[in-house]
Each structure stands twice: as C-alpha cells, then as structure tokens.
C-alpha cells in the first residue's frame, strides 16, 4: 500500500571532485503502518542535515509510529551519516517507538557493520565478509 508519498529533501551539493552529490528522501507509509524513509544518493557531512531534519519531523509529528529507513538506494555513508541515524534512533526511543534500517548494501553495509550500528538499527542482513574473516 502506498497511501501517500512525498519527497522531503533534495539537496544537490557539489563535491570536491566536481560531481554533484545529492541526497533524496522519500517518505511513504509502509504495509504495517510504519513510516518508511527511502534514502537515495550519498549520506555524508554535507547531506546528513537533510536526513536529520526529515527524521526529526517524522518522529515528532507521528509519535509512537515505527520508523524505517530504507537504504537500498544509498551508495555512500560516512561517520556523519551514521551520526544522523544514531540521533534519529535516540529520538525514536525517547518518543516510545523505534527506528530501524534495512537494505543496506556495499560500503553502507560495511560501515554500519563496523560501527556496530547495524545491530542497534536491527539490520537483519548478514555482515559482509572480508578476505580474513573481517568486514570487507
């Protein structure tokens, strides 16, 4: 069911290399009544304020409602991006609900696994394996 969909943040930002880096956030309602934020693009020090703001608005405007961040189309995350997810998770807990993430892949899955934030956000996918049993 896709009751309503709205794009809450499109932030085109020019990265040092000259290619535009942007983050697009689409908010939809999930099948079980949760709010789903689909995050597309790259989440770093420049783009994370958009996610921080979106999460704050969603959690504060619909208290008690579970929030899911879908990372399927996120191609990059750095420590600032992880911070945004941690802040959202803490806010959700304080509002009596929880924030989960799903569909992390590639470098995003690796960063969330290494920091241990994957467990906090209840990401179910198995950790990526590296050449010596560690994170890839």
């Amino acid at each position: 069911m896709m009751a309503s969909a709205c794009t809450t943040g499109v932030l085109p930002i020019w990265s040092a290399g000259g290619t535009p880096m942007q983050l697009e956030i689409t908010t939809t309602a999930g099948d079980a009544g949760e709010v789903v934020l689909r995050v597309l693009g790259e989440l770093d020090i420049n783009t994370e304020p958009a996610l921080t703001t979106a999460l704050r608005e969603v959690i504060e405007s619909s208290p008690g409602q579970e929030v899911v961040v879908d990372l399927a189309e996120l191609s990059f995350i750095d420590s600032s991006g992880v911070r945004a997810l941690l802040e959202g998770s803490d806010r959700a807990t304080r509002r009596g609900t929880r924030l989960r993430a799903r569909n992390a892949r590639g470098i995003v899955a690796r960063v969330l696994y290494l920091t241990g934030v994957d467990e906090l956000l209840e990401i179910a996918s198995p950790p990526p394996r590296g050449p010596h049993g560690g994170a890839a």
């Binding site: 600032s80 050449p131 010596h132 560690g134």
Partner: protein
C-alpha cells in the same frame, strides 16, 4: 663486570671530558643552539657534527642551522645514503684515503627516529671501530638532548614542518606520544596522515612493567570539531588508564566525557588493547572500529573480531572483551578506516586486501618496524595521488625479541 678503561689514556680522557661538556652545556642551551654548543664541546676531540631532522611526512631531512657555518643541504630519505642510515637505523662510514673521514649515524631518541647526524674527522681514525662506538654513544646522547629541548622553542619543530599546521593538527599532535617505542620484548610504532591537517585520528600507548596498553582513535566528522572530540576521548581514556581501570571502564570513561560535553551524538571509534609481554595474551575492546589484523610468520592470519561495542559516545552496556594468544614474532596492525578507504584517482578505495598484501610484504623485509610502517603509509599516499578524504592512522606492534634490536642503532 666490564673492565675499567684506563683513564690514563689521553684520547679516552678527552672523550670523557667532551661528553661531560655536552651534558653541562645542555642545561642552558636553547633548542636552536644545539649544533653550535655540541660542536664547541667536540672541538678538543677533533670532530665536527651536523644534525639533520626528518620532516613530519618522513620524506626528507633538514640540517639544524648553525650560525657561522654554511647551510648543509636537504637530504631525501629515499635514494640517498643518509636516507638509508635513517630508514635502517644503521650507521655507515665513508671516506677516501686522503680526505676527511665521515660517519653517518642514525639520530634516535631511544628508538624514536629523529633524523641523522653527520660526523667528520680531518684524518681517518687509527681505530675506526672505536670511533664508531664512541660516536654512537655521543649521538645517542644528542638524540635524548634534542627530544628534551624540543618543547622549549619552536625552531626545531618548525624545521620538521614543510608547511603550516592546522589548529586541529596542533591540538592532536600535542597529545600524541612519540611515534615509536621499543623495549626488550616489543616494538610499537605508529604513523598518522595527513601530517599537517589531521582531523580526528589519534593513537596512544603506555608500557608499564609487563603490560603494554595500546589504542587508536577515529572521531567522526572533520577538522577541529573532530580533533576536539578525539582529544576529549583520548584524555578520558588516559585518565582512566592511569587510574588503573580496565578496558571496558576506559571506553565508558570516554562515553561519559563525550556525552557530558556534547549532545549531538558525535562519537569516536577505536580499539583499546592490552598486551601481556610475558604471556603474549592480548585483550581488546573494539568500539565500532575496523578489526585489528593479526600477522604471523609474515602472513595476515586473521582479523580479530571480538570485544565489540558501539563507538565511544554511544551508550552500550556490553562488557565483551576480545582475547587472543599471540606467538613470539607476531605483529598486530591497528588501523583507521581512512587507510582502507583512501581512494585512487579512479575512485577505487585502497581496500583491505591491498593493505594485507603490503603488510605481508613488509613483514618479510626485516626492516625496523617504523620503516615498515613508513613504506606502508607512503604506498597508501601513492595510491591516493591527492589530498586524503580522511585521516589514515596505523599502529604496528611487534611482540618479539628480535624486532627491538632492528629498531635501535
């Protein structure tokens, strides 16, 4: 007991007097007066010394200027004889039969590589081995003297810099211990890039009795904000460590310090470890950091996956401590994610496999531990070919009786 040298030997008495004079002059000398004062003390024994300090990127060595003497040239570390003396921590003598006799000696404070010293005598010595032995002792003393004098002025620090330091770099560098420490059973050596604009990376260690405590840190974000977060975590961990608290308590002390001061969910990833130098038992807590790499007989045998908790600054009630039994000769590589994420011009990250390959190659080259690390770090920079996106820090610890002998002159 060693035989008492005959002090009625006038040459030996002159050497003894010269060494005493160096120590005596040391009390009042300014850092930048060091070459002139040492040369004044060495005049009676017919030696002239030039002291070169290596720059922070460990690529070239620059002479400490001495007024009234022509400036000596800058010496690259790679591809020169003095560079080889620096990198292998091994003295070399050169000289033609008729000309002056020249010794190049590694300049270290303990085992911290500072540069090289060039000592020239007018005539070839009658006993070259004896001269070398005496010059090694002299330059050993000068290495300690430079380290002792460095904090009292900016001249020597400036000489080691090829460009200006960012405030974040200044903050973090002031907190770091020397890059290399060696004792009978262990060498620990670290390297941190970029040397002048470090953001949130740092390392720390302390060796007391039979326990070595090791740590690397990587604070989120960039610049001075990240530097400050890292400094806070590092100070909290040091305070807890010096209070005799255990690994879990150290990371919790960092949690408390970060959350007391900042409310924006900033965090520091890191590994805090302790190695028993008698048994080789390594215990560690990994706070959201890349897993330490264990190297055995020249091969990377595994990543250490235990002791996990969330990054410091994010509350975590777990008390897991990882444990690993090291064998003599094992190497432990701690590194921050800037090492494996350093991107080449094509955008391809350096990657863990490349780090493993280069670390394995380095493990078999029989070089001093700090030199293995210097070459590893330069390989990463060569891959990157440009300003790094993130700090890259490595700490290599070698638990063995042979590595220490390679790290000192």
């Amino acid at each position: 007991m060693a035989p008492v040298p005959p002090m009625d030997d006038p040459a030996l008495a002159a050497w003894y007097a010269a060494l005493c004079d160096v120590v005596r002059r040391g009390h009042l000398m300014l850092p930048d007066q060091l070459p002139a004062e040492v040369n004044a003390a060495l005049r009676p024994v017919g030696l002239k010394i030039t002291i070169y300090l290596v720059d922070l990127e460990q690529r070239a060595m620059r002479p400490i200027a001495e007024s009234g003497r022509p400036g000596a040239q800058v010496l690259p570390v790679d591809g020169t004889l003095p560079g080889r003396v620096f990198s292998t921590v091994t003295a070399v003598a050169t000289g033609e039969p008729a000309g002056p006799y020249r010794l190049w000696l590694p300049l270290v404070d303990g085992s911290e590589r500072l540069g090289v010293a060039e000592i020239v005598t007018e005539r070839p010595p009658a006993e070259p081995d004896l001269l070398l032995e005496r010059c090694l002792a002299l330059v050993g003393l000068i290495g300690h003297l430079i380290a002792a004098k460095m904090p009292y002025g900016d001249t020597l620090r400036r000489l080691r810099r090829t460009r200006s330091m960012s405030p974040a770099g200044e903050l973090l560098l002031s907190m770091l211990p020397p890059l290399t420490f060696t004792c009978r059973d262990m060498v620990v050596s670290s390297i941190l890039e970029p040397s002048y604009d470090v953001g949130g990376d740092a390392f720390d260690y302390a060796v007391d009795g039979l326990v070595a405590r090791l740590a690397v840190f990587d604070a989120m974000g960039r610049g001075l904000r990240a530097g400050l977060t890292c400094a806070v975590a590092m100070a909290a961990i040091r305070a807890a460590r010096r209070d005799g608290r255990d690994l879990v308590a150290m990371t919790r002390a960092a949690d408390a310090a970060i959350t007391d001061l900042f409310s924006d969910f900033r965090y520091v990833t890191g590994v805090v470890a302790e190695l028993d130098l008698e048994t080789g038992i390594l215990r560690y807590v990994n706070a959201g950091h890349p897993q330490p790499l264990l190297m055995r007989r020249g091969r990377a045998v595994r990543a250490l996956t235990g002791g996990r908790r969330l990054p410091m600054g994010i509350r975590d009630d777990r008390t897991d401590v990882g444990s690993e039994a090291l064998e003599r000769g094992d190497r432990l590589l701690l590194y921050t994610d800037g090492v494996v994420e350093a991107r080449g011009p094509d955008g391809e990250p350096f990657g863990e496999q490349r780090l493993v390959d280069l670390a394995e190659r380095g493990a078999n080259d029989e070089l001093p531990t700090p030199e293995t690390l210097r070459r590893l770090s330069h390989s990463i920079q060569d891959h990157q070919q440009g300003p790094p996106r993130d700090d890259a820090t490595m700490m290599l610890t070698e638990w063995s009786g042979t590595a220490p002998t390679r790290a000192i002159p």
